[in-house]
């Protein structure tokens, strides 16, 4: 049985709207074109080697660092390229934990971190004996500063908190948390996973006072295979994978220059007309959320509403139906989304994030995540709303669970 047969049975819908930017980007043509010369025309050498193609690559690499550094208020030497956001998060957590291996002290994370932070912290705990503290969040995903403070102590050497949650779009008050953490331990290492914030919310690393920051290319329409860890000057961590060191001090292996050039282009596109891009996303986000809540009964919003929600995030739970079935029903209609339902995971457990904000299992099963971008149009949203209503209605007709209205 081949997957091709499944694709044939699925067919190609007349209109397609891709919202699954959480799991894989749509890479626009101009980004792809920015990558192409670096495969075989220019700068295809290894930047650490002394010949012309190598120097060309080195030149472009440094320029890309400068360019990206400027967007977050950092210096070029503070930018380390990794091969993904997941790798940058692992470097931040494990690289710091290894540095502090002699002191069996505490790592503080929140209950809704990306699994590349959560699992890396658990790994550090298992390997090195650090204790992992998990600060809970409220029903919208916010960390209460008093609760955070209750978890803080002099023993905490590493804090890792997301700037924006990748599933429910909660924007944390990082500056306040950094201040609290420093009050307890001035030398604390504060890591901010900003993969979900970058290119959609402006921030300055100096202003926030953070030490380590994760960025990811694939979250902003760049190619997969590039991440960044900002490592503040003066902070020393240990590389976590071993191999030939090229230009990067903390990350061995040859730099993926074409992908880095694509990332650079994606950054440029995100930061050109930043304000209008973001306000467009926000408008489309609100249109989709408002439309779904008005047109479809029994819908819950996961995460906060308004200004404290990321401009690109819509996460809704459709009660009485299951999310995997809804992703397939929408796919047949050309609307591509993801769900945090247990059925879409290999372990048959729903998202730890939805459970952490107090969603019941059956509420988490019906969740759908839409990621809005500047490439979406008003018509895309109207088309989605129309199909969403029909899809939910059809699956609710099949379901034995009913709301009052259906009884």
């Amino acid at each position: 049985m081949s997957i091709k047969a499944l694709l044939k049975a699925h067919g190609t819908p007349l209109r397609e709207v891709y919202f699954d930017l959480e799991n894989s980007p749509f890479v626009p043509r101009e980004v792809v074109e920015a990558m192409l010369p670096y495969f075989n025309k220019y700068g295809y050498g290894n930047p650490a080697i002394t010949h012309k193609p190598g120097w060309e690559a080195y030149d472009e690499l440094l320029q890309a660092k400068e360019f990206i550094a400027r967007t977050i208020g950092a210096s070029p030497e503070e930018i380390t390229f990794t091969h993904s956001g997941t790798e940058a998060n692992n470097l931040a957590i494990l690289g710091t934990a290894l540095k502090f291996r002699k002191d069996k002290r505490k790592i503080l994370i929140s209950a809704i971190e990306h699994l590349s932070v959560t699992f890396a912290a658990e790994h550090a705990s298992k390997l090195l004996g650090h204790e992992v503290l998990i600060v809970p969040v409220d029903e919208e995903g916010f960390i209460d500063s008093e609760v955070f403070e209750a978890y803080m102590s002099k023993d905490v050497f590493l804090v890792s908190i997301q700037a924006v949650n990748h599933e429910i779009g909660t924007i944390q008050n990082i500056k306040e948390l950094v201040k609290i953490a420093r009050d307890y331990n001035p030398d604390i290492i504060f890591h901010m996973d900003a993969a979900e914030a970058y290119g959609r919310i402006k921030f300055n690393v100096k202003d926030l006072g953070v030490d380590l920051v994760t960025l990811s290319s694939s979250k902003i329409h760049g190619p997969k295979g590039v991440g960044v860890l900002f490592i503040r000057s003066g902070i020393d961590i240990e590389p976590i994978i071993k191999g030939q060191i090229s230009v990067e001090r903390f990350w061995p292996g040859s730099e993926n220059i074409p992908a880095i050039m694509g990332f650079r282009k994606a950054v440029e596109l995100a930061f050109n007309n930043f304000e209008s891009n973001v306000s467009k996303m926000r408008e489309l986000r609100d249109k989709l959320m408002k439309g779904a809540l008005e047109e479809i009964p029994y819908v819950l919003v996961n995460g906060p509403r308004g200004d404290k929600r990321a401009p690109d995030n819509v996460n809704l739970s459709f009660l009485y139906i299951e999310g995997e079935a809804l992703t397939i029903e929408l796919s047949l209609r050309g609307v591509y989304v993801s769900s945090a339902s247990a059925c879409t995971s290999r372990i048959l457990e729903p998202s730890h994030i939805l459970l952490a904000i107090g969603r019941k299992y059956e509420e988490a099963h019906g969740s759908i995540l839409f990621k809005i971008s500047r490439y979406h149009s008003e018509e895309d949203i109207s088309y989605t709303l129309e199909n969403l209503s029909e899809a939910v209605e059809r699956l609710r007709r099949i379901s034995p669970l009913k709301g009052d209205e259906h009884e």
């Binding site: 299951e322 999310g323 099949i398 034995p400």
Partner: protein, 162 residues
């Protein structure tokens, strides 16, 4: 067989698109359910039973389903299979048969076919609850009934961990 998990077969997608025997039968003889909303899997089976040559035969079967595409397809194909089938025959249908009829479910979705068969067996037992138990109906729960029960318990346990 490939060890790499495969997605659904075209057959599952086709049935998901056009499920058969959907919704309650108005004059059903018995209804039973397996699974739980907490686990994201519920299958409800309606049977209308009649006598044909002194034998109890399923005249009509229908379903309602809360769950993934595999869940919906399993329930739909089961109701197709048992139509006009004596209860005695229907009792013998195992989850593997459901999976095979669908062209092979991914292993992580076997539990959907287990729940479908569990709901059917529950319905058949329920039908004989206040009647004389026929010889072919085992007194003790069978393996497949227990599998469905265990699935429910496992999922309840996950749920309570909250």
């Amino acid at each position: 067989m490939s060890k790499i998990p495969l997605p659904y077969t075209p057959k599952v997608l086709e049935i998901f698109r056009n499920p058969k025997n959907l919704g309650k039968i108005e004059d059903y003889s018995v209804v039973a359910e397996a699974g739980s909303p907490a686990c994201g899997d519920v299958i409800r089976i309606y049977l209308k039973v009649g006598k044909v040559n002194e034998e109890d035969v399923i005249m009509a079967a229908s379903f309602e389903s809360y769950g993934c595409a595999a869940n919906i397809a399993s329930a739909s194909i089961l109701t197709e299979l048992v139509k006009r089938m004596p209860l005695k025959e229907a009792w013998k249908i195992g989850w593997k048969r459901i999976s095979d009829e669908l062209g092979g479910l991914p292993s992580i979705k076997y539990h959907c076919s287990i729940l479908a068969v569990g709901a059917l067996k529950r319905a058949i037992r329920k039908y004989y609850e206040n009647k004389e138990r026929p010889d072919w109906l085992p007194k003790e729960e069978t393996l497949e009934e227990r599998q469905a029960l265990e699935l429910e318990k496992l999922l309840e346990k996950l749920y309570r961990r909250l």
